[in-house]
Subunit: 337 residues, 4 copies
């Protein structure tokens, strides 16, 4: 940590900062400049509240943190890729895992039709919503446990592991009974009680990036889960909120490529939510893999026109089937060069 | 709702849309244009999923919703200002209520000192965090129930109603035992289980706007609470996330003025979080009132240098005391012109 | 400037940085940390390209600049408020100057009607567009020099100084013949040739903030003008682009309050562009003054329904007349407390 | 165009809108709803100012435009891909053209070294800045015409067509003497005089997207150029400004894929500016092609540590050489599936 003092800071200001630093058993080393003094802080551990404390002290201009605040998720201390085993499907390390299925489970026919179709097309995992977060209290919010049972049945028939969202801490045990992979939705990326609860479960977790979460906040949310002992975390970029309204969200593939440098955790992308338009799903799915993603999450519905949610961004079974060979061809060439 | 068909939409596309609309007992009225057809949908109620369903149909270019999706919060059907009674303090209708106190309760001495000082300066309510949401799992996260007890003691001594945050549905009962006003933090604005739980309680609720929530999403979150029977909702603008990094957040006072037009609920502003810098709190507090806010929430700490959180944005007791007369003078002139 | 080395930086990396720094006649002072080394750079002047150069060197993690890059606009070296004289109207230092008029000059009747009406209501300056930047090539783009002549005539009749936009370097001389205050529009905030050209003229300049310009970029654009010798720069906050679409732009009043701390230049706000809705102009005008602005720019049109541009955000003559006493009452109380 | 009237709009309001519409020789067709009336406007041409005019009329809630305002750039009336011939290099229709070179031309040695190296590696065009827009007036701003001459020399030696930025209308003729492709930088995307001037030249134009320009505004800027008779426009996505600061900008590859649907013009991507970090250039270059881009613009410098600008985002000659085969392999597979 580096403390940059103000131009007009007094000797007393400087001494107060040094004293505060020493109070934490750290040492401050001063560089005397012509107009400002700089204090380099040496020692560990640096308590998390120190930056804020110093920033509010008299005579301090700025405090710059110089180590990543996410110790468990960072690649710095864990250079090798983490591979997460989700019901036998390995995610990470350059895998090109495809999770597909409807936004919401709507009926047995619907979910079975999709499950068999995506299996046949070559997908590796089945997604489907049982509990749905919706902006409006008047929207369809999912079939709940009944949907979980239907998904389990689909898994039994197809062998595909299942991924579904859990929205509140008290549901973690229930959803964990059925799901192979517990999804934390974008709106809950900073629901810390929920993060800690899935951290205490033994299920792998899919952590979606919040709509306006910075890269660092996303890593810190992974840290919340890992800090409870569960290191099986898969990150999912699903678009951020920007000024642009021509697409539902803005896919941030910079974050995917940056993530492959900064964290050892697997990262997948969700071009369905990331674009909000079915006809942009294929190009952004391919782009996501090219940027370095370890997999994809894609919404597929047998009849998007009648979907209870997210119809406009869902692929038909046919469109999904024709996308899979393109994904595989691309993954092949990405591995070979 | 208005459906705008694509240029090349077929007669079959048009008929399919009309059929879908009629399936909901609504009527579609077609305007035939030279290049596009437009369908005005007449009838009520319009089911919430209809827009999405129609948008994904073949030949549809765009579906425009023309009534506000928040029925309970809108001023359209409830023109008079709602006044929320918080332990005897009336919020709304042009009140200039001031809630003040530390970000987090840290000790009995701290909270008592602040409570007496802000009472003397003329504040109307005491704020203080017992459960703190923090981006990092390694930061101080509040004293929990002990803090609630200290706040209750401060209320007993000063008569100031207390406001504090509740973070998870299972804590609503506990926090509701102590607090006069339950705060939903920005990160939880779309934690629907939590919104519904406070909606089922009988306590007034302070709903902070999410960091990247649109005005409409904010209203819909209020709707979640009201839809459970609790209409005592106070909105709080606390800054949104934008590209600008010179301040912690960007106060959106447009939303305050717009809010006074669109909803009957009271709106307050939080310039401490909205700016992140103590020396910008006073000008933005005054600006918030001038924009139409019904009150203010301000962080005050006896020794901001030593605060466990949000020190840089906290006023000292002295600074707060000198701000109050300016607030009162401004409120006076705003009412008289 | 502070250089933070990477964890694994070598001695050679460190030496290369020190050598580069010394090449500019500066001195680097190293703080040896347990995991990282920090180099404080001492000496002046620090060349502008140094940060970028060092950031791309091997072993460097981050380079932190610690003095403001705008030397002329900063309050650091010029603590007193600059007061700009615009045709006898003094702007700055807590003035509450009101500039009003139509978005575009449309006819002699229109501009004369507005000029007399705003003069009577108490405005201090007349605004009006002669050259209009429009997103679409098919929109009305102004009457050009004819409009300038009409504005000059309005000035002759009312005594109000006039402000109008100049869009391209080769027009500066022409517009400067007529205008008392040359406006640089938001889209041109980083049109450097234009900034330098108005910097070489002797007219005061009104510099609007770009739609997505950071506070620092805005200051640097002022610096471009001042660096040519023209220090009569007035800044204008007119709303930034964010994710919110409920209003046309988001007024950033944080930037106004921050600006009053960081620069000695006058700052005004434009609530017409800042909100895009006439019914939000009054509350945001008042809020702008309360945040510390030295004046206002407000669109007024005798018949907003028929305006060729920006009708929805223009006040009628009546609405403007009823706003002026509220502005004056507010300005009075702001000065007295 | 569709006009949605307010709930409480009167018959007089409706009639006034219809009269205004008829004044433009258009026809309004009213759909009477239970709570609102909707007016579909039929006829052509719809004048550009009509939307704004109607929006400010009494009783009008919203006006929805339903045809794209960019007539020349839209694919609607021009379904086939435009192929732009830049000095013999064909851009568009799925080309994978690579433009490479330094941010700024710094010396003859530098530009010749780069030109020969990228030619050998397989690049198709040479980029290099002669006139540089810089946020600060104190930064290096380019060698001007001397740089143009050096680039022309590099072209003579390598056969690579050259692309360079033009910043102001009066420089178009000069830069056009040397450059095969005139670049309009992001900051000038809405410098309309400049757009029109390059529109009147006979050189192909590379139009970079503005930092905070919506997709539609970008298309409208292309329209400005095309409207002057020059249809040889290549679009370039180079990252937009969002809340995320972990990368310099946020590459919006959604816009690339959307662009391939909505416009016939070629689109390339610039991952150097789009990410700001050299180690993210390769993954985002590949991602850009996978999203559908027709080419790439990449910064290459023989010694990025010593570059006068944009060093941190420049590839070394070696890194560029090793990227080219990956680009070619990817382009191959994208064409075959």
């Amino acid at each position: 940590m580096v403390v940059i003092m103000q131009n007009g800071a007094t000797k007393a200001d400087l001494d107060a900062v040094l004293a505060r630093v020493e109070g934490f058993k750290l040492r401050g080393s001063v560089t005397v400049g012509e107009s400002q003094n700089i204090i380099g802080i040496v020692g560990t551990p640096i308590p998390p509240q120190l930056q804020e404390m110093l920033e509010s002290m008299s005579g301090v201009r700025e405090v710059v943190r110089i180590s990543r605040p996410y110790k468990l998720a960072t690649r710095e201390f864990h250079p090798r890729d983490t591979i997460v085993d989700v019901g036998g499907v390995m995610v990470g390390g350059g895998s090109a895992v495809v999770m597909a299925g409807p936004c919401a489970v709507e009926s047995e026919t619907q979910i079975m039709t999709v499950a068999h179709a995506i299996k046949k097309a070559g997908a590796h995992m089945l997604r489907g919503g049982a509990f749905k977060p919706r902006s409006s209290p008047y929207s369809f919010r999912g079939m709940g446990e009944e949907a979980l049972k239907l998904m389990a049945k689909a898994r039994a028939e197809t062998g595909l592991p299942i991924v579904t969202e859990v929205m509140t801490p008290t549901d973690v045990a229930l959803v964990g009974e059925y799901a192979d992979l517990l999804q934390i939705g974008a709106r809950n990326m900073q629901n810390y009680q929920l993060l800690e609860e899935v951290g205490r479960s033994h299920r792998p977790v899919l952590l979606k990036r919040g709509l306006s979460a910075t890269f660092e906040e996303w890593m810190l949310s992974a840290e919340y889960i890992m800090n409870q002992g569960n290191h099986n975390v898969i990150l999912c970029e699903r678009g951020i909120r920007t000024f642009e309204t021509a697409t539902r969200n803005t896919m941030d593939l910079n974050a995917v490529a940056l993530g492959k440098k900064r964290t050892h955790l697997p990262i997948i992308v969700d071009p369905s939510h990331g674009t909000g338009k079915w006809y942009l799903v294929a190009p952004l799915a391919l782009a996501g893999l090219a940027a370095g993603a370890d997999g994809l999450m894609i919404e597929v519905h047998p009849d998007p026109d009648k979907a209870t949610s997210d119809g406009p961004q869902s692929l038909t079974l046919e469109n999904f089937a024709s996308l899979m060979p393109r994904i595989n061809a691309l993954a092949g060439v990405l591995h070979s060069v």
